[in-house]
Amino acid sequence: MDLYLPIANLSVNALVIVALGFGVGLLSGMFGVGGGFLTTPLLIFYGIPPTVAAASAASQVTGASVSGVFAHFRRGGVDMHMGAVLVVGGVLGSIAGAGLFTILQETGQIDTVIGILYVLMLGSIGGLMLHESVGAVRVARGARVAKPRKRRHHPLVAMLPLRWRFYRSGLYISPLAPLLLGFFTGVLTVLLGVGGGFILVPAMLYLLGMGTQVVVGTSLFQILFVTAAATLVHATTTKAVDIVLAALLLLGSVTGAQLGARFAQKVRPEYLRLALAVMVLLVASRMFLGLVWRPDEIYSVELS
């Protein structure tokens, strides 16, 4: 079933895009990530221009995170106070990201920067997750005794001035720390079309030292607003949001996300994390190959 994408200016097989959305949605429901880190590269492999891919993937992440936010909200798993600070940082970051995007586009380095960022981010996060989940699996099998880990924030965070109380998170820290974190993920959202959940969640746990019961809900809350802001930023600056592409992705991903969430309840969480770590590392190595392998096309054309 061929469908013409009015902004990407090419026709795609609609079923393939829906299936792609479904697969990513399944994973995002299972692992609690937005799945943007998979959508953008997969769309680029399929032949969608990188800018359109990043811009449209952001809106897919919005859709995928909505139902999650509602679910966590009902359970009281969202720290609104912390979320608001993160969102403010995220919106500022997405505006700054748009400026960076334009500069990189003009110098022709946007694709390389996207590639390098993906490799660095996914490689390091995937590596950490693999290390952590292998340990957790061994603990679960009784091969090792878990070391009780004290929850506390990073000493750098404690150094920041102007402390606030975040009751839900059980923290008394400077709002500058989550603001900077939000800003950083906002920049990434615009550049890569990712929600940034795979960075936010570990950072909230290990840098800020937030309580685990509010981490996922609050990160989804931030992702929802920042991806929405990134979509708006793309719509007004790069004009690369393809609403037809986004709708196709959403159709697949929202159904996939629901199925994935149900499946996740039946599987041991440490195995889920292990699977996610392997997947993240696979995407990272594919992107790495894309950077160092001699490309099919030495030349590229852009309109000026």
Partner: protein
């Protein structure tokens, strides 16, 4: 086809000239891009009118070349280079006008029909395109970038040659089919027809073809361009609604 017969009927009136005359036409004057657009096939046809009395060997040695060109674009071509183990864009070249689409069909390979100079004058053949660089560079650098641009667009199906795709019937009627891929940009296209004999272009004629988005696709593209903020808000609302709707629906089961 009706047009051709009309032209043939009018032929005696036109036969005062010594040179043959071309009466070309295309199957579609305008192509609309709608939701199911996967490309189009253009039929280019027409008649060759010979002066009266027709030369003895009117049929043989007459060749037809048909060129379909897309709107010209000003483009920037970048060249990748391996730097510290990573392929990054380094050199670039700017072109003021490069056709966004270029297809040439001929009754025989063009190299056999005309010499290099004629090919360059009429831009016959992918290697004879007159790309006008905006930045000055040495000839060999420019040739490298020209080749890169042509190669890239050839692989994308935007530039191609179809030798022997033009059929000439009875020395007077010709027809050719050319594929327009889905990736072409919208705008004014032209279909040029050349009548060639003994290595010389005897007659030429141009017909315009308009390719545009229609209906919903046109509406979307236009909204994205003119009402960017509303378009963005719509995209966000759509994703929130779909995400929330799916969640609400699933909780019922």
């Amino acid at each position: 086809m009706k047009r051709v017969w009309l032209a043939l009927a009018a032929a005696p009136l036109l036969m005062g000239q010594a040179q043959p005359v071309l009466v070309p036409d295309v199957s579609e004057r305008s192509i609309e891009i709608a939701y199911s657009f996967t490309g189009a096939e253009l039929l280019l046809f027409g008649a060759i009118l010979y002066p009266d009395p027709p030369p003895a060997r009117s049929g043989e040695g007459t060749d037809i070349v048909v060129v379909v060109k897309g709107p010209t674009q000003s483009v920037l071509v970048r060249e990748k280079e391996k730097l510290a183990g990573i392929w990054v864009n380094s050199d670039s070249m700017r072109y003021r006008s490069a056709p966004s689409f270029y297809a040439v069909a001929s009754s025989r390979p063009i190299q056999q029909l005309v010499d290099e100079r004629t090919r360059a004058i009429y831009e016959l053949g992918v290697s004879s395109l007159q790309l006008s660089p905006a930045s000055s560079a040495s000839p060999d650098v420019q040739a490298r970038f020209d080749a890169g641009l042509v190669d890239l667009r050839t692989r994308g199906g935007l530039y191609y040659e179809a030798p022997r795709a033009v059929e000439i019937t009875g020395g007077v009627l010709y027809r050719a089919r050319l594929q327009i891929p889905a990736r072409v940009p919208v705008g004014k296209f032209t279909a040029e027809t050349f009548l060639i004999r003994d290595g010389r272009v005897l007659a030429a004629a141009v017909r315009p073809i308009d390719i545009r988005k229609s209906g919903f696709e046109r509406f979307v593209a236009r909204s994205a361009e003119r009402h960017a903020l509303i378009y963005g808000v719509t995209a966000v609302l759509l994703s929130v609604l779909l995400g929330w709707g799916a969640g609400a629906l699933w909780r019922r089961f």
